[in-house]
């Protein structure tokens, strides 16, 4: 039997004074793929931010357990060290911070048990991961998200995921803003990383097109801050027919 990785119990949260999550319950086990869909404003992105510990979100009720630890009020760095990862919808620019140095710092802080990698050792690891997301080596000379195109930002997030090898990756609308070619590349990369590791995935998306690449174990429909319905792949087909609103 698979171990439970993430357990969310009756999670309620707000941003400033606005209540957004109104009692989320969700369990994700090792190496499972869960897809969360839902209309704009249903709270999907807030769920992602809350799970990663964004200071923007205020948890008012409920708990989040990750690997049997209560992380409800833990800082983001602690969550990262435990193996949680968030690929952001809009990765923020950090001017002047070289991407390669940042990646090495992030890698070393998340893999303390393996010992720090030297610049050369890390470069070797990076080369192999760059291929997965089809980014040239020169890309590493750039500054973190600074002046990246939409597609480059998404690739950079997946590159970080490939390097950090989290136990659970939350992908917040990684498909949005990508043209069909980039979508193909990015999601093939995600699938490859999923297949080569024991990683579990929580995919947040607006569109079912990502399901051409990734076959979920569960599909959840979010509406007004709660998970309104949970099902398998077939749930997607129903949505395609009737839309989110008419779904009961």
């Amino acid at each position: 039997m698979k171990n439970s990785m993430l357990k969310i119990k009756n999670l309620k949260a707000q941003i400033e004074q606005q209540k957004i999550l109104e009692g989320i319950n969700l369990t994700i086990k090792e190496h499972e793929i869960h897809v969360v869909m839902g209309p704009n404003g249903s709270g999907k992105s807030t769920l992602a931010k809350t799970l990663m510990g964004s200071p923007e979100v205020n948890v008012t009720e409920g708990e989040i357990y990750f690997k049997n630890k209560n992380i409800t009020h833990k800082e983001a760095d602690t969550r990262s060290h435990l193996g949680l990862f968030l690929a952001n919808q809009y990765p923020t620019e950090v001017p002047g911070v070289n991407l390669e140095n940042f990646l090495r710092l992030a890698y070393n802080t998340n893999h303390l048990e393996k010992g720090k990698l030297s610049v050369l050792q890390f470069r070797k690891l990076l080369r192999s991961k760059l291929k997965v997301v089809d980014l040239p080596e020169e890309f590493l000379e750039r500054n973190l998200n600074e002046g990246f195109s939409g597609g480059e930002k998404k690739k950079s997030e997946i590159l970080q995921m490939a390097i950090l090898e989290p136990s659970l990756a939350i992908l917040d609308e990684t498909d949005s803003g990508l043209d069909i070619e980039s979508l193909d590349l990015v999601f093939s990369a995600i699938r490859k990383i999923y297949e080569q590791t024991n990683m579990a995935l929580l995919l947040i998306t607006h569109y079912d097109r990502v399901l051409n690449y990734i076959e979920p174990h569960y599909v959840h429909i979010m509406r007004q801050g709660v998970i309104a319905k949970t099902g398998g792949q077939d749930l997607v087909k129903i949505i395609q027919k009737v839309g989110f609103k008419k779904l009961k």
């Binding site: 510990g53 964004s54 983001a76 760095d77 969550r79 990262s80 060290h81 911070v97 140095n101």
Partner: protein, 466 residues
């Protein structure tokens, strides 16, 4: 940018104080008698004593500046104006006293020198005790001495240049320095000689209430090149200290001079320094000025562009934490045609620190077809901290171009969260954001200094967030 694990706290690394036996130490306070004794003990030429006395009168006569940072806490009667450590000046490491050597070793000076330095002059207290110049440079006629020795050996150069671009009447602290100066570096680069490895000095205050009044004079003759680096670290003390230095640079036709400072005085030091350069035809002078420590710094490195096509640059970094005021900036005085200047100022303030950019740009009617660019960027951490900009432009002819860009940014919650969600602690994330902000300037520094700058910033961040 990179993470540096120092495994040492600030006090251990920079705040240590070794016991040194002082051969000569004057009682606290300044008077005409003190000025005469300083000159006498150094066996100086008469004109220098006369200059010191005039400067002393100017210092006494002149009121404290009424602009900039508050300086009323400085008690001039509670400062030592001269101290000479035991041991003679020498060019050989073996001659340096053990206790002093110990301090230097903790500052890693010998290793540094072995690695890539052409010469090291380390100012310990008011005088340079240890100075060495590699033979290849001596063979080329390069002079790198402490200023006292320089005056003894090259009186004609001193009569020609000393106080020429910073006269003692310039300001109260230049007057004070001229009256009681001791130590500093004297550098002369002959025509056509290019010193491609930086010359470097470290100096520190190691005596309680010891003021440092070093005097540096750099003369780069025609077609020569020099990069001079000055790094300061100081022990931690609880009573106020004063550092009032004067640096004069002369860059003759086609010469290139870069002067780099990393200032990390302890948080009780008033750092009031006058730095000025004369750039003649087609010469280039660059001041790289990093102010991290001190209680209050007032420093505005200047370039007087006196010959056609002369170029001046100031790269300034200021970091102000709790209780600190960094009032830094630049002065560019264009007095010849086709001259150009660039000022880049990067300041950071947090925990109630206060940074100011204070700049003066003048284009006289001689400065036809000249251009200048000023970039001021400030990074603010919290609402308690403050940053100000005081630019003054005096433009006396119409054939010039002037650009001014200014930006103020706040460390955003988004950036911190993003970096922390990748496993970095809040301190690491903050250091990284600061290092990124400083990156355009840090990359202009020699590798070792860039690393040291990052290490200092990182030390400053430790225990100060969250």
């Amino acid at each position: 940018m990179d993470s540096i694990n120092l495994n040492q706290d600030y006090k251990t690394k920079y705040g240590f104080k070794d016991k040194v036996k002082y051969k000569t130490k004057f009682p606290k306070g300044i008077s005409e008698e003190v000025v005469r004794r300083i000159s006498n003990i150094k066996n100086e030429p008469k004109w220098m004593l006369a200059r010191r006395l005039k400067a002393y009168n100017e210092f006494e006569r002149r009121p404290m500046p009424t602009w900039g940072a508050a300086l009323s806490d400085i008690d001039f009667s509670n400062i030592h104006y001269f101290a000479r450590a035991n041991g003679s000046k020498g060019h050989s490491w073996d001659e340096v006293p053990e206790e002093i050597k110990h301090t230097f070793e903790r500052l890693k000076i010998p290793q540094t020198e072995r690695k890539f330095l052409a010469g090291t002059a380390t100012q310990y207290e008011s005088e340079v005790i240890y100075s060495k110049l590699k033979e290849q440079w001596e063979g080329l006629g390069v002079v790198f001495e402490d200023t006292d020795t320089g005056l003894q050996k090259y009186p004609e150069l001193f009569e020609k240049y000393f106080g020429k671009i910073i006269p003692y009447k310039d300001n109260k602290f230049a007057a004070l320095n001229t009256a009681v100066w001791s130590g500093g570096s004297f550098i002369y680069i002959p025509k056509g000689v290019k010193v491609d490895i930086p010359l470097q000095t470290y100096f520190r205050i190691n005596l309680k209430n010891m003021g440092q009044f070093e005097r540096t004079l750099i003369i780069a003759d025609e077609d020569s090149e020099i990069h001079y680096i000055e790094g300061c670290t100081a022990p931690m003390y609880t009573t106020d200290s004063l550092h009032a230095a004067v640096v004069e640079i002369f860059a003759h036709k086609n010469a290139k001079v870069r002067y780099t400072t990393i200032q990390n005085w302890s948080s009780n030091v008033y750092n009031l320094v006058t730095k000025r350069a004369a750039a003649y035809e087609n010469a280039r002078v660059e001041w790289v000025d990093c102010n991290i420590g001190s209680k209050t710094t007032m420093k505005y490195p200047a370039v007087y562009l006196l010959g056609r096509k002369a170029h001046g640059e100031v790269l300034s970094i200021a970091y102000a934490d709790k209780g600190q005021i960094q009032d830094a900036g630049a002065k560019m005085i264009h007095r010849a045609p086709e001259t150009s200047s660039l000022i880049t100022s990067k300041s950071i303030c947090k925990n109630g620190g206060h940074t100011s950019y204070r700049g003066m740009l003048q284009m006289t009617h001689h400065a036809k077809k000249s251009k200048s660019k000023i970039i001021c960027d400030a990074l603010i951490f919290d609402n308690k901290s403050r940053t100000d900009t005081y630019p003054t432009n005096i433009i006396e002819n119409k054939e010039v171009s002037l650009e001014h860009e200014a930006s103020v940014s706040k460390v955003s919650q988004d950036q911190l969260f993003y970096l922390m969600s990748r496993g970095l602690s809040e301190e690491e994330a903050t250091s990284l954001i600061v290092a990124g902000f400083l990156e355009p300037v840090a990359k202009e520094l020699p590798m070792e200094y860039a690393v040291e700058l990052n290490a200092l910033i990182q030390l400053s961040m430790e225990g100060s967030v969250g």
